[in-house]
């Protein structure tokens, strides 16, 4: 109130009213924040109870975590792994072959999934498919494909197709169909419809409309999304081996379960390097694609 008096004594009442209003607004906001916080705390307690969180165990055992990480960087002789890289990466040839298999699983799964997703994205678009129920059914099918996790498909396929990379590829392909189909359909729904109308007016069939009016507008986006998906699928393929569906995951889970410490770190280092390399490569490719689109 000191400030108000020095400026103009007449407005004191007015200012007092404003100050009170501000205080009210502030306390209302504080109240809302407190309510939000209370809801959050209740959620945390409930979730903590459901997920059997034991902070004390964590506090007791956190040493195990650092010890574990520490142990993975030690050779059997007790030396640090980087003192003897040859011993650390003793299985390099075998692991690289498995990594290659992992990449191939991701590649074949991405190509097959993207191709089928490509076919199914057009009936899922409300602007191209005028029959409502076809649109609805395709959308729900795509949704199912991407909501069920890859590993669940992999578990079922391992049972029917047997152990090995085949169920891994199929699981990734099915998940990719769902994810790509949805993204492709979203791209197609945002196109300019004038070329489509032009081809339709000239007597073009539905297939011709898609080939000559839709495809030229969407192909760069499609390729870019497929590359992004490949990146994701490489990560997915790396853990397919956990359920026996091929790739390097099988060797990794065995070395974790059997406490082959230095193997664990070696394989994870190889995996991280591969993922970084693939990320870098696909990013470069995507930038070139987008660049070539801009030039036209």
């Amino acid at each position: 109130m000191l400030v108000a008096r020095t400026i103009s004594p007449i407005a004191t009442a007015e200012i007092a009213e404003l100050v009170a209003g501000y205080a009210r607004a502030l306390s209302a906001r504080r109240m809302r924040s407190l309510q939000g916080l209370a809801v959050l705390v209740v959620c945390i307690v409930l979730a903590g109870w459901a997920a059997e969180v034991r902070p004390l165990t964590l506090y007791d055992k956190i040493g195990n975590f650092t010890n574990y990480i520490d142990a993975t960087f030690k050779l059997e002789s007790g030396d640090r792994v980087w003192t003897d890289p040859v011993e650390w990466f003793w299985g390099l040839g075998k692991w690289l072959k498995l990594l290659g298999e992992t990449l191939l699983i991701a590649y074949v799964g991405t190509i097959a999934g993207a191709a089928i997703g490509f076919l199914f994205c057009f009936p899922a678009c409300s602007n191209l498919m005028k029959t409502k129920w076809v649109c609805f059914v395709t959308r729900r099918a795509l949704e199912f494909n991407r909501t069920v996790p890859e590993l669940v498909f992999a578990l079922i396929f391992v049972y029917t197709f047997g152990l090995g990379p085949v169920p891994g590829v199929l699981a990734i392909a099915i998940h990719t169909i769902g994810a790509m189909g949805k993204l492709f359909a979203e791209v197609v729904e945002n196109i300019d419809m004038k070329p489509v109308e032009g081809i339709a007016a000239a007597g073009g069939t539905w297939i011709q409309q898609i080939r000559f009016a839709v495809l030229p507008q969407v192909q760069t986006n499609f390729l870019s999304y497929a590359l992004l998906r490949f990146e994701i699928n490489v990560r997915g393929a790396a853990v397919m081996g956990f359920v026996g569906a091929g790739g390097i995951g099988d060797t990794l889970i065995v070395s974790i379960r059997k406490f082959y410490y230095s193997d664990v770190s070696a394989i994870i280092v190889l995996l991280i390097l591969t993922v970084m390399l693939i990320d870098y490569g696909t990013e470069k490719l995507r930038h070139r694609l987008i660049g070539s689109e801009r030039q036209r």
């Binding site: 945390i44 979730a47 997920a51 590649y107 996790p149 049972y159 590829v169 991280i272």
Partner: protein, 290 residues
């Protein structure tokens, strides 16, 4: 009408040589422009076929596997949990799954929040700190949630707590990167405003940066909560709690009707979470879900 078009055609044909000279690129044979894409496409298809062969795809295998899959699909329908006790049991582990996803996401966000500021170029203007923190995030992100789960099982034992820690770890890397990028994208003007009125650097972050990034960060956290609900359903396959454990058990013991019931429950839970979180996102930042 036809007379006009015929004349037009004649005039164009008369000047064809000149037009071709003026626009050579438009008259280049089409196959030349298509040569590179054709090469690339051949390479991609070649690698695909090689992959099919190398990974052991055979027609007979697909046929027998496919027919067996068809049989199983038939057995799966209708989904049937058999007893109410099982339904309650599965609901319990579904709650566990949601708890894992919620706490994992929250834990990752709380851990990554301060580090996001440290890794942001405009808050801590130190190249070494920037590069080191980014590489740290990349490395943590490069290790899959399931691998983290296996590591944490070794530390705190089998059960959902290992799952919480695994999701918290894996997302810590992702959040760190996303948060620091969001902070770097903020407008500098409010920060300068706070500093010019004599605010400390901490006050500049609190009143200049935080109000700008909080909505972005909240929406990212909610988005990750959705995606983690999916991850948490499978984390049980390696023994880190949640409904995945029962799913893989039921598949191993070939109880297909139970399997389809669990998958159905997972689908319902995931869509419910998607719905709630997209509503929340809309309410918090006032932006329609993408």
């Amino acid at each position: 009408m036809s007379d006009t078009s015929a004349r037009l055609r004649e005039s164009i044909l008369a000047g064809q040589a000149e037009i071709m000279e003026r626009h050579p690129h438009a008259f280049r044979p089409a196959w030349r422009a298509q040569l590179t894409p054709a090469f690339v496409a051949t390479g991609l298809v070649g690698l695909f076929v090689f992959g099919l062969w190398y990974l052991g795809f055979t027609f007979g295998m697909l046929l027998t596997g496919g027919s067996q899959l068809w049989v199983i699909l038939g057995v799966m329908l209708p989904p049937n949990p058999e007893t109410w006790g099982r339904v309650v049991f599965y609901l319990g582990s579904l709650a566990e799954t949601l708890g894992i996803a919620f706490l994992g996401t929250l834990g990752a966000a709380i851990m990554a929040f301060p580090l996001g500021f440290i890794a942001a170029k405009n808050v801590v203007a130190n190249r070494i700190v920037h590069i080191l923190s980014r590489r740290l995030f990349d490395t943590i992100r490069g290790v899959d949630t399931l691998i983290w789960a296996l590591v944490w099982i070794n530390v705190v034992g089998l059960g959902p707590f290992a799952g919480v820690l695994a999701i918290a770890c894996a997302d810590f890397g992702a959040f760190g990167k996303l948060f620091s990028e969001a902070i770097e994208a903020t407008d500098r003007a409010p920060v300068e405003g706070v500093l010019s009125t004599g605010g400390s650097p901490l006050a500049a972050v609190r009143f200049g940066v935080l109000p700008q990034v909080l909505p972005v960060i909240t929406s990212q956290v909610l988005y990750y909560f959705e995606s983690n609900t999916r991850s948490a359903t499978i984390i049980g396959i390696v023994g880190a709690g949640g409904i995945g454990l029962h799913l893989s058990e039921m598949i191993r013991t070939v109880e297909w009707q139970q399997v389809s019931f669990i998958i159905l429950m997972m689908l319902v839970a995931v869509s419910a979470i998607d719905f709630v979180s997209s509503r929340l996102r809309q309410a918090i930042i006032g932006v329609r879900p993408v």
